[in-house]
């Protein structure tokens, strides 16, 4: 009876992560960079949530034995507020509020106050999210550093902090002349020294990359290409090339990065390049399957 119940819970937990994506969503090796790209109509949100889920709610035996090291996540989102992540996280069983109080999760809100100079309502309703209020790169960097330090806590702790940067390309597009692709790449590189691994989401729409006519487009292409070359692997989402279908939301393509060949940590053993279809249901559940399945 007891064993059956346990099995049930386990089955439920694993079903949140699509089995075909499990190797890609597991906590990556140290110092890796994972790039997620999306386009208009195929957002990376569900994939980010799966990363948060697999990092924060790992129920395997390892984390129970070594209590010293906990996997933590710092999420910075420039396009979505905390309410969005909380609502959709709840469907996956992630209780962000509880994780915030346990100091396993922190949220930096790059939407609410970034370009809105209006007097903010007291952040009691937000619940744990720090609101970025200045859009220049130095203060954004500083806020991230502070959030990282408060998340890490003790110096000697061996906590693994996964940094998830959601849509930092907005800062590049809307931030004005002060923010260039190079400075943004440098900032991300600097941040990588302080975290265990980093997940970055960017837009990869053709109009943003195809024509290099305006600074907006050239900067975006520079950022994306540079990060794509640095990345250990890239998961790019796009819409179905052959039009829309009722039971397919889009295509996810996994591309192994430049470094995979000389990788000694065995990442390349887990990561193989492939192209899969996915479907996000109305309840937030995701199905990932091969073509023709």
């Amino acid at each position: 009876m007891k064993a059956g119940l346990f099995f049930d819970i386990n089955a439920k937990m694993t079903s949140r992560i699509p089995p075909l994506l499990e190797p890609y969503l597991a906590l990556p090796p140290e110092a890796s960079l994972i790039l997620l790209t999306g386009v208009l109509g195929a957002s990376t949100n569900w994939l980010v949530l799966r990363y948060l889920h697999s990092t924060l709610l790992r129920q395997d035996g390892l984390s129970e034995i070594t209590h010293q090291s906990e996997d933590k996540v710092l999420l910075i989102s420039f396009m979505r507020d905390f309410a969005f992540w909380k609502e959709n996280g709840r469907r996956l069983g992630i209780d962000f509020d509880k994780l915030v109080t346990k100091k396993r999760f922190a949220f930096l809100d790059g939407l609410t106050g970034l370009f809105l100079k209006a007097p903010q309502k007291p952040s009691s309703t937000k619940g744990g999210g720090v609101v970025l209020s200045k859009s220049d790169l130095a203060s954004v960097h500083e806020e991230i550093r502070q959030a990282l330090e408060s998340l890490k806590g003790r110096e000697d702790a061996e906590d693994k902090v996964l940094l998830v940067v959601d849509q930092i390309d907005l800062l590049l597009a809307a931030g004005g002349d002060g923010i260039t692709a190079n400075r943004l790449i440098e900032m991300l590189m600097g941040l990588r020294e302080h975290v265990y691994a980093i997940v970055v989401t960017l837009y990869a729409d053709y109009p943003l990359l195809g024509s290099h006519q305006t600074p907006l487009e050239t900067d975006h292409a520079a950022l994306l290409l540079s990060l794509a070359h640095q990345a250990d692997f890239t998961m790019s989402l796009r819409l179905l090339d052959s039009g829309t279908a009722r039971d397919v939301s889009g295509v996810v393509r996994i591309t192994v990065g430049d470094h995979a060949a000389e990788d000694v940590q065995g990442l390349h053993k887990r990561i193989e390049e492939r192209e899969l279809l996915y479907f996000v249901g109305g309840d937030g559940g995701v199905k990932v399957f091969e073509r023709g399945q």
Partner: protein, 390 residues
């Protein structure tokens, strides 16, 4: 989840006692997940929004249009009229008061269309009432209004989406909360001022922030007609840092007031084509993106002449494409009910029915066109007639 849906539906359609007190006028819970929605003033557009049967509050809609026509402006006017009739606060950017004089008025209650629709809704099996809104798109194609079904169920319930008549003008009551904020085209001769670069959107954002915090319980509608049109905005407005910051701030406001605010923005695509990065960013920052592509004007009268005789349906005046839907695509895109995303849609604008969006189907070929009208037995006769004319 299924529990929540059910309770919402019962509260909305059947009882409507407890819910009405909580919900503001002109809003109703979405049949999908219970989020409050409001009407865009155009029924067939409401029905396209991924099964929510309305624009979910806290979301924005970007309506793009190619060419020199102003169908998107008509959509905006319906949206504004609906807001005024529902007692919502309406904020318009870049226009002056004269814009409000052209808002469409309510169509007469005694029109024959309406009684016909009433009859149709009465004929419906009562058991289907809670499913019919899910199949709202199909209903929209037959121009069966949604609100009538609910009003027939309980006459006292407020109308969600009114019927407008383009030939009538809306008499704006003095109590209406409609405000016009000019895009601050402060053309100062002082060079330092332009160097510093003052965004033309700051006054509007400040206006919104103060009004939203002042009337936090009311429902607000933001209307931005032809964004970045050079007739309304100073040239520096199209700098990405200004317009994208504005849209980002608007997004922040929408999220900050998730139960009080919706926005509709129109964008002239001819000036800002979709292949540019700037337009793509504007689309990415909006929650819903639809594109109107009117047919060339010369094509309309021909089609009207050939089509109007065979069917009562309006000839399509243009194509519509949905690029993104509120809530639906933010979650990942999938599982919505009859979204119309990716389908070929056509729209037609008529005086009484407003803008009607329906799946596009090619009109029958010229030769076949006459057959349904004359009947099969006349088919042979028709052929000989043609022969005789030769």
């Amino acid at each position: 989840m299924s529990f929540r849906k059910r309770s919402v539906n019962v509260g909305d359609g059947g009882g409507s006692i407890a819910k009405d007190k909580i919900l503001s006028t002109g809003t109703r819970p979405s049949p999908l997940d219970g989020r409050p929605t409001t009407s865009t003033g155009t029924r067939s557009l409401d029905s396209l929004l991924a099964g929510h049967a309305g624009l979910v509050l806290g979301n924005s809609l970007l309506v793009e249009e190619t060419g020199t026509t102003d169908f998107s402006g008509t959509l905006l006017r319906y949206y504004a009229s609906e807001g005024i009739l529902q007692g919502h606060h309406v904020h318009v950017l870049g226009m002056h008061e004269g814009w409000a004089r052209d808002l469409p008025g309510l169509s007469g209650e005694s029109s024959s269309i309406r009684t016909e629709e009433k009859r149709a809704s009465d004929e419906k099996m009562k058991i289907a009432w809670r499913y019919e809104r899910l199949g709202e798109f199909g209903a929209g194609a037959r121009d069966r209004p949604f609100s009538n079904n609910t009003t027939s169920a309980s006459q006292t319930q407020t109308v969600f989406c009114h019927d407008f008549d383009l030939s009538k003008r809306l008499v704006i009551p003095s109590s209406a909360q409609i405000q016009f904020v000019p895009a601050s085209a402060r053309q100062s001769l002082d060079f330092t001022d332009t160097e510093l670069g003052i965004s033309p959107f700051t006054t509007f954002l400040n206006h919104l922030a103060t009004h939203l915090s002042a009337a936090a319980t009311a429902v607000h509608r933001i209307i931005v007609p032809s964004l970045l049109s050079p007739a309304l905005y100073p040239p520096q407005g199209s700098k990405p840092e200004y317009v994208l910051q504005f849209l980002h701030a608007l997004r922040a406001l929408l999220r900050q007031y998730p139960a009080n605010l919706t926005a509709m923005i129109t964008l002239p695509l001819t000036l800002y084509p979709r292949i540019t990065g700037l337009t793509r960013w504007m689309e990415l920052l909006s929650d819903g993106v639809i594109e109107l592509a009117p047919f060339p004007s010369s094509a309309i009268p021909i089609k009207a002449a050939s089509n109007a005789s065979t069917s009562q349906e309006e000839p399509p005046q243009g194509m519509m494409r949905i690029h993104r839907l509120p809530v639906f695509h933010e979650k990942g895109g999938g599982g919505g009910e009859s979204s119309g995303f990716g389908d070929d849609l056509a729209f037609s604008l008529s005086r009484r029915k407003g803008l009607v969006i329906k799946p596009y189907s090619l009109p029958p070929v010229e030769g076949d066109e006459e057959t349904p009208q004359r009947g099969i037995e006349h088919d042979h006769g028709k052929a000989t007639k043609v022969d005789i004319e030769f």
